[in-house]
Amino acid sequence: MQKKLIVSPGPHLHNHAVSTQRIMLDVVIALLPTAAAAVWFFGGSALMLMIVAVISAIAAEYVYQKLTHQPVTVSDMSSVVTGLLLAFNLPANAPWWLAAVGSFLAIILIKQLFGGIGQNFMNPALAARAILMLSWTGLMAANVLPHAGQWVAPLAADAVSVATPLTHGAEGFTLWQLFSGDVPGMIGETSKLALLLGGVYLLIRKVIDWRIPVSFLGTVAIAYFIQTGTLYSVESGAHNVLYQLLSGGLIIGAFFMATDYVTSPITGIGKLIMGVGCGLFLFVIREFSSYPEGCSFAILFLNVLTPLIDRFTTKKPFGFEKPTAPAKEAKA
């Protein structure tokens, strides 16, 4: 009974080298340096969180699709990416069930209930992070000091939760610490070096477009330059452009979260609007709200605006004229 597909004229090219699976594999490859950095700085607990998150993301997708009699799409690896990104958004001493609950929320609540891959209205990993953040604020804010090269955290460092580079009054980190990732924070967002490596790989492979990361980071840089007037100086603490660019979840957000195909605009101008919007909201939330970190909320907000942006930036087809009054058309 199904209606036949209406085929439009025009060349139809299909590149078999580009599939969801291949793109997701590229993203996983791009995330590997960050995973390695997370294990290097936060040891076994980071590895445990990543494994739990990925396995429960895959399990959630498989179980849901089996239960609802849908074709199982676990092999497209998108749930691996979601699980990994979610684990990157957890602090090192988060309990294992937090990763599992987060993955279930991301896959079932945000992705599958809205129709599965390609249908989610928000980035699943980020939305799950926001839910975890609002639900278990204490556990999610329990950042520990990194312990580079050690498998298990030293006893003293393990028990205390410490301030992240963005917490007010704790601005004593050097640029190299921020860049390499030797700072307290979520396991996957601290090492900017590893994230940038992955980001560049994705740009070279053309998995992601340059517009969103560049406009996102650029907007944040300009906003902070206008506010603080300094590019970088040690005395200014956190009040300079470079410090802000290198702290928090900005880099992982700009390269891996905001560029999600499903939840970002398709047109070039739309992508620029998305990046600028994310940057502005991140600046506003970081500076004027009680939340220390605005990256996830900024991206989630622009995720929701994406259909609107798409609607206003879609290109007019060549030779297209606005349909005039129906009476005239009938005559023609």
Partner: protein
């Protein structure tokens, strides 16, 4: 129009087939706002039931007297009377509930379940049927809001009616008590109840087919 409605079907209609929370999706404002604890949800549901029964009763009595053009203001006067009674009664006898429900008690005046039943049922049916309908709808609403608040209290606080239910090691999920948690939980309950309703309807069809064979 069907004229023969038995009291039983009218009563059941409000609880199952046209449950105001899960089927008609009416009265969402109080449902989402006060369903953070079972005690509050139950209180809200019963207060609404009281108003619903009595407003249906009075409107059914007056249904041939109220002119069609001013029926909405007339309904509001009737409903507001009973809401005021509930408001003052709660303040006098259960001040703690009155305090926690706050503005949402006076807001029962504009609860769309009550309006819907007044407009679509009480103004067209006999007094006895209208009272039954009010009772059924009210209990259906109480059931819905209590179920929602039970889920939210259990997840968000680990308690039911203030009694610790979950084990000590349970870490409450704070978002369940916040507004987004209310929307998410309501959505999940709607999914479950609609799926269950569909499954039951399917089984009925299968049974009917079997009986035919």
């Amino acid at each position: 129009m069907k004229q023969k409605k038995s009291i039983g079907t009218v009563f059941k209609n409000g609880i199952f087939a046209e449950n105001p929370t899960f089927r008609l999706v009416l009265g969402m404002c109080p449902t989402l706002a006060v369903s953070t604890a079972v005690f509050q949800g139950l209180g809200m549901g019963l207060a609404t039931t009281f108003v619903l029964v009595f407003s249906n009763f009075v409107i059914a009595l007056l249904r041939n007297i109220i002119p069609d053009k001013v029926r909405i203001p007339a309904f509001i006067v009737v409903i507001a009377t009973f809401v005021t009674i509930v408001d003052l009664m709660l303040k006098a006898f259960i001040p703690s509930l009155s305090e926690s429900l706050g503005i949402f008690i006076p807001l029962i005046v504009v609860n769309c379940i009550i309006f819907a039943r007044a407009e679509s049922f009480a103004s067209k049916n006999s007094v006895l049927l209208s009272i039954t309908d009010g009772l059924g709808m009210g209990l259906g609403f109480t059931l819905g809001i209590s179920l929602l608040s039970a889920c939210r209290e259990l997840l968000g606080n680990g308690t039911l009616l203030g009694i610790q239910v979950m084990p000590e090691s349970f870490q409450p999920m704070a978002i369940a008590l916040r507004p987004p948690g209310g929307f998410i939980m309501l959505g999940i309950l709607l999914i479950i109840i609609n799926a269950a309703g569909k499954a039951i309807a399917k089984r009925k069809v299968m049974k009917a087919k079997e009986a035919e064979l």
